[in-house]
Structures are given as structure tokens and as C-alpha cells.
């Protein structure tokens, strides 16, 4: 389940935010601090996670740190899907 979620998020981030021809990213690639996803685009990534996993992530927990890699995003989503 966890790996499946990470695969889905990775695929989405790659399709939506990576330029064509950019180097591939991994589960631990820095997304926000690495400049792949900017703070404005983070809103659409949050919306994707909320739609996909039927969760609501409060704004104060949708921080650049919590969204900084697919691994971290999966941790965040798991915390809300369990709750």
C-alpha cells in the first residue's frame, strides 16, 4: 500500500511538474527545496492528494518541509488516511 502510494505520487509529480526531458526523480528527491515544485504549485499538489485519498490536509500541516519529497508526502498522507 505504502509503495503503491509512493508510486502514484511519484508518477503524478513527474507528469505534472517535471519539464519534458528533465532528469528523473526518486522518492527522496527534494521537491520544494529542489525547486521542482514551487510554493504556488504546492496548492495543486495538495489538492491532488486530497482528491485522490479523500482526505483534508489542514493548511498549517501542508508545509514546504512536509511536501519536500515523495517519501515525506507519503508519510503525511498516511497520517491522515489512518486518522
Amino acid at each position: 500500500m505504502a509503495d503503491e502510494m509512493k508510486d502514484i505520487v511519484l508518477k503524478y509529480v513527474t507528469a505534472e511538474y517535471l519539464e519534458d526531458g528533465a532528469d528523473p526523480i526518486g522518492f527522496d528527491t527534494p521537491l520544494i527545496s529542489g525547486g521542482i515544485v514551487d510554493s504556488f504549485s504546492m496548492v495543486s499538489l495538495k489538492r491532488f492528494l486530497e482528491n485522490k485519498y479523500k482526505i483534508s490536509i489542514p493548511d498549517d500541516q501542508a508545509t514546504p518541509e512536509a511536501f519536500d519529497s515523495v517519501d515525506k508526502i507519503a508519510d503525511l498522507v498516511r497520517a491522515f488516511t489512518k486518522a
Binding site: 526531458g21 527545496s33 521542482i36 510554493s39 514546504p64
Partner: protein, 567 residues
Amino acid sequence: MSNIGNYEERYKSFDWSEAAGELDYQPGGVLNIGWSCSDRICEMGNGDKTALIWEGLGGAEKKFTYHDIRRASNTIGAFLRGLGIQSEDRVCLFMDKVPELYLGVLGILKIGAIAQPLFSAFGDESLFVRLDNAQTRAVITQKKHAPKVRKILDKLPHLQYLIIVDHDGKAPLKDREVVFSLEKAAPVETLEIHPTLAESPSLLHYTSGTTGLPKGVKHVHYSLLAQFMTAKWVLDIRDDDIYWCTADPGWVTGTSYGIIGPWSLGVTQCVMDSGFSAEAWYKFIEKHRISNWYSAPTAIRSLMKAGEEVIKKHDLSSLRTLASVGEPLNPEAVVWSERVFGKAFLDTYFQTETGSIMITNYPGMKIKPGSMGKPFPGTTAVVLDPKTYEPYPEAGKIGLIALKPGWPSMMRTYWNNEETYLKKFKNGWYMTGDRASIDKEGYFWFVGRDDDIINTGGHLVSPFEVESALIEHPAVAESAVVSKPDPINMEVVKAFVTLKAGFTASADLDLEIMNFIRKKLSPLAMPQEIEFTDALPKTRSGKIMRRILKAKEWGEEIGDTSTLEND
């Protein structure tokens, strides 16, 4: 003692000829920003001094001395000349904050061509309207951004060259594509500098308008005098300083104060080409012993949100001058920075059109948190009565911020749009489009925009441009775009949308429309919220009344609704 010393005395006595003298510029003579920011510093005996420390992803680091940036900009200029690029041709730089962007600007200016930097996160539609309007002849880009240009190449007959700076040879080059590698190119020691004069065009920066397409703001080489002087007196840059401007050269701050200001002063500057993280930013300041830091309210508020524990982990004692630009800096941020860094962020105000800082707080001058400060020496700023376009004689009245034309970095026109340019002047004043009041001590206090333009995170977004893009989505029938308050970005984009028959509002459609705009225009223009509605408020003549929607978002009085269609 700060560089400016006593502000009041400077304001009384300053004349722009003082800046000309410091730059050894003789009126009527050759003036070239590219040369002034590199060769001139080398001729002053500082060629071996570090000009640029660049850090990219994963800790990659590059350093350039002033001799290096002189040679690199010569090399880029010679390459462009070899392609047939001539003076006044527009050359676009569409790149992340890589060294080639900074050095490319100097190289383009050295051959007398016009540098047109564009924000690398722009989508293909945003890119197209700007390249089309400027009739750009060449685009310099990275392989990761090239696909966006390729997508619109067929619609751009004037675009002759797509120059890729990091081509790895894996994919074959396509039509009009050429490769330039700064590392592999033979360094050009001597380049014939195009004899640009004060009024020769230098840069073309695009800015959003209330209606119509983005406007290309044309600047000239004479702007150097203002960028040099303001960097010296406001950012307080001195010979041994280490300076960091966080702005992207796709925007005016990134060229005026990320290239021209610091390098014309011969200082060492740092560039960080990666995304935001409080930890990474503080580490960067500590590692490079940064003394002068020019940033933006959005970043400052994000740092405030990250807390103070992360600050305590770093030695930030090198910081001496902190300044902010892009949108008004809230008083809490000024007070916070004074407490945690021991220095208040100095709020500065200028626009793409003004080219350099116009109204600002100064090192050594009393700061009133939340105030814009006072006009820069050599400029006249007033608040006009919106009915008469005459300056208010008394303090405290809210009116329109206006500037007396004539400062060196004032825009010379909007590219291919002289008519709109002329509308920026009323009664002999340049109208900024912003509202403010002036207190009894002469401090300006920002109130807001005088139009519908959205200032999100310090970047201007045109509601018209977003609305036009929205109705290109197959589900959207009509749209209205306004700002809504945001604790970090001051304002963000909100869209009200009516759907075409056969489409139903849903969370997935909401996301699809957001991503549609992000890719077409830019992440800045992407609505952070979309509200699906059955109808939009309109006048009886059918014009959408944005102000009603905006007033609701901001919790303000709706005002006169007598012309509302369904009132």
C-alpha cells in the same frame, strides 16, 4: 556610518551628475552596462576579485572572478554576433538562475542587443505573447525548458535561434536549434563593445496590465546611474561585502539588483538556484558570510512561519543590511527581523517601469514599521488628488502615488505600445497605479493598487490574462478573477467560474483547471481557489463586476450596485 549618511542632506544636495561622475560617464559619451559591470571593474584593478558565487542543486558550486565574468560575457557576446545578432535585436533569456543567465545579460548588452529575461516557470502561452510582442530573434535556454519554446516555434516567424546552453548530445537538435556551452567555448579575451549611448535600449521586461496583453517595458543603458546609486545608498553595498539578492532575473529586481547594481559596484554576490527552505537559506547566509541581503515579504513571512529554532542553529552575525521588495512589508515582519536578526528589514518600493528603487527606507534613518519610507534623492514623489491630479497640500490624505519623470532608469516606452505608455502620465506626472498617503514627517504609507492587478508574492498577475486563459478550458463558460487575502503571499489568485452545459463542478475538475492555468500561464497565475457558480455579477451592459467579488473576498463594503444586472 551608512553609505548614504544623512538622508535629508543627501536629498537636498544630490544631483544625478554625482552618479555619472562616480561611474566616469561623460554625458554624450558611450555608456554600456555590460562593460561597466565587468571590464570597468577589471580596469579598476579588481579583476581577480570574486564576482559570483553560485550554488545549485545538490551543493553544486561555481565561482567566477570579475576577469571570469568579463571573458564569459565576451564569449557569449561573440557567439551571438557570430549568429548575426545585431544591436537592438531582442535576445530572450529563458533559464533558471544558472550562471549563463547572469553572464548572458552582460554579453547581450555588450553587443548592443536588448536582453529580454523571462521567468523560467512561464507556460507556453505566457512565453508566446511575450516573444511575439517583442519579435524576439533568439532565445537562450536550458534543455529542460526548450520543449516549451519548441511548442510555439511555428507561431514565431521572427525567432531564428533557440540556443541551448546544456545540450548533452543525447537528442538530435531540431529546426533553428543551436548549442552553446560556456565551458567548452573558446574564451574571448577581447570583444569590441558596441558603442551604446545613454538612450540606447538595454532591457525589455514584461509586466502585467489590467486589460490587454502584458506590456514590454523598455529600459536604456542610462538606467545604470540609478541602479548603481540606489544599490550603494539603499542596499548599502561596500567593497568587502558579500551580497545576496534572492530575486530571479526574470523580474526587474533580479536584473536591477541581482546583476547591474551589485556588479557595477564591484561587489561579490551570491546566487542560490534552488527552491525555498528556511534551513537552506540560513545555511547559505552562514556559509558565505552574507552581509547584505535583499529579499521579498513572501520569503520573509515564510521564514517567520518556520520559527526561531532554526535561526538559533546558525551564525548569522555577518548580516548588516536587510532589505525587502515586491509588495508592502507588514510591520510585524519589520519588528520580527529586528528581534531575531538584530536588524530591521528595510522596505523598498519600485516597479518594473521605474527600473530602480524610488521610495524606500534607508540604513541609519528612523524606521516606521509598515511605512514605505521616503523618496530616493534625485526623485520627486508625491501623492495626487485623484480628481485633480494635483499633489495634496496636506499630510494624511490617501491619493495616487506619482513620480516626476526624469530619473535615469525610468522606462522609455512600452514595446510596440506607445499609446498605453502615454496613458501612464497625467498632468506631467508618471502615475504608478498605486495608492498611498504621506505623513507629517514625509513618510509614505502604502494603501493598495488603483486597479485590479493582483500582487501575489511580489509578482503582478493580470486578472484579464487569467480569465482569457480560463475560458480556453473546454468546461469553462465564463470567469472572473480577483485577489483574495493570503497570510504568506499577501494576495493570491481566486477564480469564479461558470460551466458550460454538460459539465458538472467537482474536485477533479477544480484540479484540472488549476493545472491547466499553471501550465498555460505560470504557477503564479494558477488560481489557488476556484469557486464554481451559476452566474457572475454583471452590469446591465454585460460587463463582469469584479469589484463585487473582490469586496466579498476582502470583507469590504460592496459599494454602489445600481448598475448590477440582477439587482
